[in-house]
Symmetry: D3
Subunit: 322 residues, 6 copies
Amino acid sequence: MRFIENFYDGARVSDVYLVKTKNAALTKNGKEYLNVILQDRTGQVDAKVWEPNSPGISDFDVLDYVYVEGNVTVYNGSNQLSIQRLRVAKEGSYDPKNYLPVSSRPAEEMEASLSQLIKSVKNPYLSRLLNIIFMEDADFHKKFMLHSAAKSVHHGYVGGLAEHTLSVAGICDDFARRYPDLHRDLLVTAALCHDIGKVRELTAFPRNDYSDEGQLIGHIVIGYQRITEVAGSIEGFPPTLAAELGHCILAHHGELEFGSPKKPALMEAMALSFADNVDAKLETMREALDAADKNGKSTEGDGWIGFNRLIDSNMRRTSSES
Amino acid sequence: MRFIENFYDGARVSDVYLVKTKNAALTKNGKEYLNVILQDRTGQVDAKVWEPNSPGISDFDVLDYVYVEGNVTVYNGSNQLSIQRLRVAKEGSYDPKNYLPVSSRPAEEMEASLSQLIKSVKNPYLSRLLNIIFMEDADFHKKFMLHSAAKSVHHGYVGGLAEHTLSVAGICDDFARRYPDLHRDLLVTAALCHDIGKVRELTAFPRNDYSDEGQLIGHIVIGYQRITEVAGSIEGFPPTLAAELGHCILAHHGELEFGSPKKPALMEAMALSFADNVDAKLETMREALDAADKNGKSTEGDGWIGFNRLIDSNMRRTSSES
Amino acid sequence: MRFIENFYDGARVSDVYLVKTKNAALTKNGKEYLNVILQDRTGQVDAKVWEPNSPGISDFDVLDYVYVEGNVTVYNGSNQLSIQRLRVAKEGSYDPKNYLPVSSRPAEEMEASLSQLIKSVKNPYLSRLLNIIFMEDADFHKKFMLHSAAKSVHHGYVGGLAEHTLSVAGICDDFARRYPDLHRDLLVTAALCHDIGKVRELTAFPRNDYSDEGQLIGHIVIGYQRITEVAGSIEGFPPTLAAELGHCILAHHGELEFGSPKKPALMEAMALSFADNVDAKLETMREALDAADKNGKSTEGDGWIGFNRLIDSNMRRTSSES
Amino acid sequence: MRFIENFYDGARVSDVYLVKTKNAALTKNGKEYLNVILQDRTGQVDAKVWEPNSPGISDFDVLDYVYVEGNVTVYNGSNQLSIQRLRVAKEGSYDPKNYLPVSSRPAEEMEASLSQLIKSVKNPYLSRLLNIIFMEDADFHKKFMLHSAAKSVHHGYVGGLAEHTLSVAGICDDFARRYPDLHRDLLVTAALCHDIGKVRELTAFPRNDYSDEGQLIGHIVIGYQRITEVAGSIEGFPPTLAAELGHCILAHHGELEFGSPKKPALMEAMALSFADNVDAKLETMREALDAADKNGKSTEGDGWIGFNRLIDSNMRRTSSES
Amino acid sequence: MRFIENFYDGARVSDVYLVKTKNAALTKNGKEYLNVILQDRTGQVDAKVWEPNSPGISDFDVLDYVYVEGNVTVYNGSNQLSIQRLRVAKEGSYDPKNYLPVSSRPAEEMEASLSQLIKSVKNPYLSRLLNIIFMEDADFHKKFMLHSAAKSVHHGYVGGLAEHTLSVAGICDDFARRYPDLHRDLLVTAALCHDIGKVRELTAFPRNDYSDEGQLIGHIVIGYQRITEVAGSIEGFPPTLAAELGHCILAHHGELEFGSPKKPALMEAMALSFADNVDAKLETMREALDAADKNGKSTEGDGWIGFNRLIDSNMRRTSSES
Amino acid sequence: MRFIENFYDGARVSDVYLVKTKNAALTKNGKEYLNVILQDRTGQVDAKVWEPNSPGISDFDVLDYVYVEGNVTVYNGSNQLSIQRLRVAKEGSYDPKNYLPVSSRPAEEMEASLSQLIKSVKNPYLSRLLNIIFMEDADFHKKFMLHSAAKSVHHGYVGGLAEHTLSVAGICDDFARRYPDLHRDLLVTAALCHDIGKVRELTAFPRNDYSDEGQLIGHIVIGYQRITEVAGSIEGFPPTLAAELGHCILAHHGELEFGSPKKPALMEAMALSFADNVDAKLETMREALDAADKNGKSTEGDGWIGFNRLIDSNMRRTSSES
């Protein structure tokens, strides 16, 4: 297919793209037309349907995959696609992976890693809880494996939530080996569950935006509520253990001003908040450096790629001397 | 009875007091004795049981009401009670109100006020929710009416939680009259429920200290969880309404750094956070000024009673000129 | 008349508008022309006078109401008006309300409400002070009723200052009923006077911008100075009462970092700072939600209207379920 | 006279001291006695009048200078004076300088320096204003020369306000020489007036505590009000100049959170805020180092004298190597 | 020469300019061309080389001085230069001062002032250190005299570092006269050395951007390292004196959050941090007011020139009344 | 030996203790005596030498180990030792481990671990640098292995610096395995060197207090200076690598306000700052929980051991349910 990053002035387009937004508007003469943004995994393009009522234009909606025919022109320095024909594409006639950013870690490997971590938890109550949440709820399982970990910032791609979760759980596993005072089963369980609320906080790809519940309640409390509910359904689950697990979820942002209603008061909660933070920061730097490599920012001049708001610093890739 | 504030050097005591703390210790000669703190609503006194194994001293525990006989002496400038006889007092042989600070608002009046506010809510779902929480759960109802609103700070007395809740709900009612855009039923329901988590966050009087759940989870999330649970049990309860009510509870501290995991995003949540704050601040000032009147600090010198950490200012009572 | 929001490419205009700015400039060929911004209550438009010295163009100034004839063209995606004829409009030939945003509360109702609140103050000194400031100074009275409460943010329209002041005084009145320790007369007087300095801090409509005095001194100190001056002119005015009223004015922003040189140290000052803040925040939300309704932002998508800097949160209108 | 720092166990005292506080109390047997704190410039001592109604004890008040006879004993490690005889001392029978900390700069020198700075201001309006405030108001002049610049912190001694003011004005004079864009007359006038409100914010020695007006209004606004009033009384005083001078006073703390209702917006206001701050900080360090020399803290160990809250650091005297 | 601020539509250009940036790009038809930004001391202009391989276009690089011939057109409202001929200019065929902003203080005068300050330091070790750093290292000396004090903000011109350094040293000299406790030689030495690290933190003009070392280490630590190294090379240099001088360099930003790893703990360090700050702030204001005069912002309207981020306030020039 | 925690009223003492402080004082009768604090690893005790000039009392100094004979009495509720005989103890007549808190990790194991980590670094320059610093400088090596990591807070015992350093390096090793973008050799080298400045910032045990250099310069810059010096002495050491290593040291506190003059701009610097922080926080919690176990605070009541300033929260040990 012709990816959007390869569009040029005068190109003829006939391919399937994802509809990101769609708005009706009026020309100065009062004629209706449509403003559309199309997307694939290489970028987005402004498109216009000047004759929305012509027979070649079928009905379509935001987030539909549509087959379009049209011409590229350049307007105000940017590409613009004039659409002459458009119809909703049949499932199977396109590969969704071409339209969304995807984790570089293979899905099967992440499945295996998740399964292994869950099996490694020996405490019967925590083991049961993990199985109910991740394995017996097929709908959740599927969503969890495909979800993004964030709207933007870091891990903002298909599979990002699983990748981030496994990474945090792995770091927690390392911490547990180094600090024998840490209760490994509690810590690993909390790590696996810490962001499950994001499945409801953010809508799934391709929309990937905050849900109403996400904005009103937030993934921290949503996740806490889910683990409390599941713990309550398991016979004999010790209430203190449930409260400790709940505390780890609530405190995982580490500071009140980052949205945690409690500061870490248990060693496991403290360890989890560090694991979450270190993965977020290192992945943010990695993604920013990779992006700079791609767009050439890191090779022009002196290698410094500019100020990053999350890292709160300019940064560059480490030299190859070490 | 002889209240603790009236103890003096040489006084003979034979009355019932509340045991606040009890610790075994050794004299320099290695003999065991007991350090005890006794309390009534006028204050506390150090007491010693020098012969804990004598026949006159029965077994007792912290927070028991005990009948004691002994003598007051002065040690290092403070009263100290030497206990010769001690036994646990029978319920009925003392009036609990003599041992704890109590709201000045009569309980019946608060009952009536609560009942009237609940009746004023016309939305059927919210009305049902309030009835389940406050009226049909007799155990909760009783605890709610007797609970303190805080460990210290403001409303720290029997009935304080109910008094604070009613005051906040009343202010919200006023706001709803002045701002027609506010949904009154949602706002008043949120006001009545905003601190229900405190019944589990703080243990009941006379202990009145943070519970394990209170420290790990906190009253904001406990309260949110309770209203979510009840809303879920009511058939047809609109999920959006449940989320909006939940948001008001979560956001009622107004700022992340005060422990709310969400900032107010709805007008009702904003109004509630102000009502909660204004009642807390004005009551803090009122209690501080009253305490200063009692201990004479407000009349000696110029009337300024000193720096108050919560108000973050020195303060004084307004003159009677206005 | 043809409102600016209805201008379109090719439209012919012949109507009265308000001159917001006017600057002389040179074309590339060195010919002088005028850059003008015209305004009515629906918006603003760039306009050019290409032949400022032609007989059809009279002399005019910023903030004049001018009758213009010209054509609308589109330049860089925005409307632009080419003015061929222009003269200053005669008073009476236009209705000023068409050119400025106006409070939705009728002026007479606000007059009545102000008068009633002033009459309700029984303390003779405070009553006298309010009458001198609001009733006997006709010039101030007129300005106060027409002034905006802010340059932008909230209550930024004709009558906004009066509307905000009355709202704050009303909330204070409610507070005084609920908290008997509050001195109602002092509190209501302070509420009515708290923003009088804005009449000098902001210039009147249509300019509505910070005055030199406003930037150097600020409305808090200007208002304080005015009430001190008036109190000093009233025989027998108790100095302590004057200082207490002054303190309420100085402390009404509640925190030093919001520009109050003193934190509230009296209960009335505390209550006033809350009343001011709650009205500002709820009105900000109301105006933002109304604006979003108007420009369609609240109906497209999920109803969330975007991040608001003053509220420091995204927000949406509460659902109609409650 | 025998200074308080020279009291010892068993010493016999018969001299004049200043009464700092006086409170009636009851012994355990219910007998009235007086708790008194006496002061001279070397320190304070607890004193008791066990027989307040004996013929040798006359009536006296806080801040009286009293002649006392009594014995020193040591109680809980501190000296205590048992007073047997006490009468109010006649003016002239003692030298007030022995009872209060005093500036090390001679009063005449400060007078001369003030007078010279005032004469150096050539702008007729500013010159007139300075003369009215400092020279023609004899009562203010006397108070200003004797006042402390602070309750504690820095320059907390008789003459401290004048010493600090002259120092700040001198630094401003230096700045004006180095930065020709600064208007010297405005800057020096603002420097001389910047703390005049302290004469009303703090009561005079020996009490030296915040006045009611000081707590409610504060020296910044009090000083601003005074210069505005005086400027208003001078015919032809340019209003813009008055506002600029007022702004310098209001902004002299440099930041809103330090109690200035405006941040410096003029170069002179910026320069003044630095001059005020540098004098405060260097004098704080100097006084702390001198005090450490006196009490031996700077010579024991390594010369570091401990954490100072205002400087927000530990500190030591610079070595004599440089 | 024709300065860039005098370019106009249709102008013919044939002069020498400085190349600020140079990037190759493709036209829509895939033909290579060059985007170039040219600069002189009056501003910058976009330029295009449409035929980079034509014989009239020689090879050139960023920061070369180039002789160009071409035409000015207006594109999107801005001037654009189409370059037909271009060659690197020979040194001597242009005056570098025409291409860079330059300090208004003559270089010779700054040389004399530096030399005099160094001579005024009597302590033999400090004197030796200053001579090694400033006088015996000719390469450093030259760079120091030409360097900018900042990338933007204040003193961002040729000679700015020397001008700022001399100004700070002068203020410190004034402070030493007013505060006899200050060790003048240490203070003046620290002032002269406080920003020497900037010679390595910022690359020289015309690039004037952060170096790799500047971003990784920063001028504070670079400068500290240099003075430590030099002190270590001087026989008998007292280690305590070296540490004190080092401390002054490290602490000269005054606060940890401004990048100083230590807060001022010596009086000289405190004085230096104030001198640095006062010069930075007053110069920032001066430059902003001058710029506003130039671009007319200070005369249109009311003289207020807009919010300045460093000053954190709007500002205006003081009136000429004082 | 009789440890100080086992002293009791009337006990007779004849053993060796460490002298922590020693001060001469005068009794009320003007007789000289000595105030001494003695220490062993179980605590400290006040001691008095009432007859410092008696033949049984030899000359001694702070931090000497002294053999004393005397009696314990109780004064103001605390033990006090009256010393009758005292002489400096011979080395070998006591075991230093009885007088200081010591790491629970065996020294040999830490030696082995350090040696292994250094060997694991393959980059020749970094390997050389580590060998020079840790292995070839025997004096430093010995100090490093015995030093404390802090004056108080965490790892405040003999061997604490080595234990903390190895722990941080181990975590960094784990990070390097999980994040392939990290340069392991640079990261591990930085981890091993990050706190070497503490050997000079804090004096060795038993004094263990801030040195003059520590207070003026701080361990971050001291350590940076040392690695720069060593790198400079190694032929061919790449300057960029030296700057990157230096940056990691400078940025290891993560935030300017924690004393780092640079924020992490390289991935290794970011990873190191997290490793340092996680070890500090988990060790702080572990030490606090252990201390609470020892003094019984964690078993009385509900297990919550009280607010910890560094953790900024109350805390408790996790239950054994998990």
